[in-house]
């Protein structure tokens, strides 16, 4: 099922005082940005967690504490750092990423990576040494061993991805700063997410609509959790 289809089926349940397509488009932007950011983050984090889980090197504890600190890093600060980076005056200014979804993906990537790495690492470290040694004894290459470990740790890794996704989709500070909370004048979101839309409603004292959008956000997180749990139970991890 494509993201767009999910996004379009959800708001049918709620009737809000918004223009047609508004809620659908902010749900779409929320999912698009968070899913892309978390996917990239996962592709980055799992190899890092594997490498850290399989090797010992000086300063490993320090790297771990840096990652753990990153889990609690305030999203507004990340937003400001990304703003300085992608702003016209910043090192990536030439790319003109400010007030785009790409900038939002960058900041959510930064936010989601520490929890995904830390929780994956814990899961990978938790896989019994016997499993690794058995895989190695059966003549497995490094890659084979890694795949076996991933398979054993898949629930933990699934939790890690969900934690990262939860952080990304519920985060408001950084996407507001780097995305700009923009919709077109027809009310179709460009960089407005559910969280920044809630912030906008609250700013105007429209607490009821803010609450309804909040409920939509919670529903989406629930659905995504459900999907990931299902994949963990049956899915593509069994090769």
């Amino acid at each position: 099922m494509s993201l767009e289809a999910v996004a379009q089926s959800l708001p049918a349940l709620v009737d809000l005082p918004f223009r047609e397509g508004y809620v659908t488009s902010i749900i779409y932007v929320s999912l698009y940005v968070s899913v892309v950011a978390v996917t990239l983050s996962t592709l980055f984090s799992i190899p890092v967690a594997l490498a850290m889980g399989f090797t010992d090197f000086p300063g490993k504890q320090f790297v771990k504490s840096v990652i753990n600190t990153g889990m609690g890093f305030p999203s507004v600060v990340v937003g400001l750092l990304v703003l300085f980076t992608v702003s016209n005056q910043g090192p990536l200014g030439e790319l003109e990423l400010i007030f785009t979804r790409e900038a939002m993906i960058i900041s959510q990537f930064v936010l989601a990576t520490p929890p995904i790495t830390a929780i994956s690492l814990a899961a990978i470290t938790g896989v019994s040494d016997n499993v690794r040694e058995a895989a190695r004894a059966l003549g497995g290459t490094r890659l084979d061993v890694a795949l076996v470990v991933i398979k054993e740790a898949r629930y933990g890794i699934g939790t890690a991805v969900l934690a990262g996704f939860g952080r990304a989709i519920s985060e408001v500070g950084s996407v507001l700063i780097v995305g700009g909370n923009i919709t077109s004048s027809q009310g179709i979101s460009k960089t407005r997410t559910l969280t920044t839309a809630i912030q906008l409603e609250a700013r105007q004292g429209q607490y009821e609509t803010a609450m309804i959008l909040g409920a939509v956000l919670v529903a989406i997180v629930l659905v995504v959790n459900g999907i990931v749990v299902r994949i963990g139970d049956t899915g593509p991890m069994d090769r």
């Binding site: 702003s87 007030f99 923009i182 004048s185 179709i188 460009k190 700013r203 105007q204 004292g205």
Partner: protein, 302 residues
């Protein structure tokens, strides 16, 4: 929003692509481009921009990305070259922005006014005062709750100017800086029975949600001139930021100060009341609108 023939995807092409797209549009050379406007929460949250922008977008085949930030932040984004045009309401900050070379071609755009609002029981007794500074002094003497935006916005700047004019230094438990937008500040004032300074537009758009009432009127309803709230629009100087989409910014300024758009601003109503009063068009030229207030060209020969 269609970008046929554009390979970049529409969310990737932000402002300032003048060079790369010139050959693509079949209509005007600007077609398909995006203008980034940083502006204040009052112009955006009242719904004015969404109401009038479609006309501009259709006329030029472009998209306007309006980013509502508050005057201080809107100017800062422009200062960093992250927007093409700014629409704000704090002449002092606008002047500084221009003097520093970041903004050019400023035009007076429209105005409304500020009002001092509070709960109906009016604990400090300021209702009907003709002087905004006297009202603030009375609030300070009574140590009645006052909510300040505290966010370097146009309204906050105006509030600080008023305290200064009143010769009173606000501070103490009764004076709260919230660091929020106007709507939220009104809500906080509403919940605490506090006074606050609001632009009339945001107050009208939110009046049905809150129990606050206007205690000191602005000049639109015969109040003191000091509560006037003029909005200006400026292009980002392409000499400082060469990525700024200057052509389109000037097209925007030309359009929004045109009779058609000015009429649309005048016609925009909420809860049956006009929120903004156009002032771009006049028979008598006002040369001061283009330059920082009080600026004169003593060194120029011509």
């Amino acid at each position: 929003m269609s970008t046929a023939g554009c390979t970049g995807g529409d969310d990737g092409n932000s402002e300032g692509e003048g060079g790369s797209q010139e050959n693509q549009g079949e209509q005007a050379a600007v077609a398909g481009e995006t203008l980034t406007l940083t502006t204040t929460t009052s112009t955006y949250d009242t719904g004015l921009l969404d109401e009038i922008h479609p006309q501009f977008e259709e006329m030029y085949g472009v998209t306007v990305d309006a980013v509502a930030q508050g005057t201080g932040a809107a100017l800062e984004s422009a200062r960093n070259g992250d927007s093409d045009v700014v629409m704000v309401h704090a002449r002092g900050l606008e002047d500084e922005f221009m003097r520093n070379g970041y903004g050019i071609n400023r035009r007076d755009l429209m105005f409304n006014d500020f009002v001092i609002v509070g709960s109906e029981d009016d604990p400090a007794g300021i209702q009907g005062m003709d002087s905004a500074t006297e009202a603030l002094t009375t609030i300070a003497e009574a140590e009645a709750q006052f909510v300040s935006r505290g966010d370097n916005s146009g309204t906050h700047t105006k509030e600080l100017n008023l305290w200064e004019a009143a010769g009173t230094e606000p501070g103490g438990d009764w004076y709260q800086e919230t660091g929020t937008g106007m709507g939220e500040a009104l809500n906080i004032a509403n919940q605490q029975g506090a006074y606050t300074l609001s632009d009339r537009g945001t107050f009208i758009s939110q009046r049905s949600e809150i129990d606050l009432t206007i205690l000191v009127q602005g000049p639109i309803e015969g109040g003191p001139e000091i509560l006037a709230n003029p909005y200006g629009v400026m292009a980002v100087n392409p000499g400082v930021h060469d990525n700024a989409n200057y052509d389109l910014a000037m097209a925007y300024i030309g359009w929004i100060t045109s009779p058609g758009a000015q009429e649309a601003i005048a016609d925009y109503q909420m809860n049956g009341e006009q929120l903004f009063f156009p002032e771009a068009i006049s028979e008598d030229p006002d040369f001061q609108q283009y330059v920082p207030e009080g600026w004169s060209s003593d060194s120029a020969d011509e």
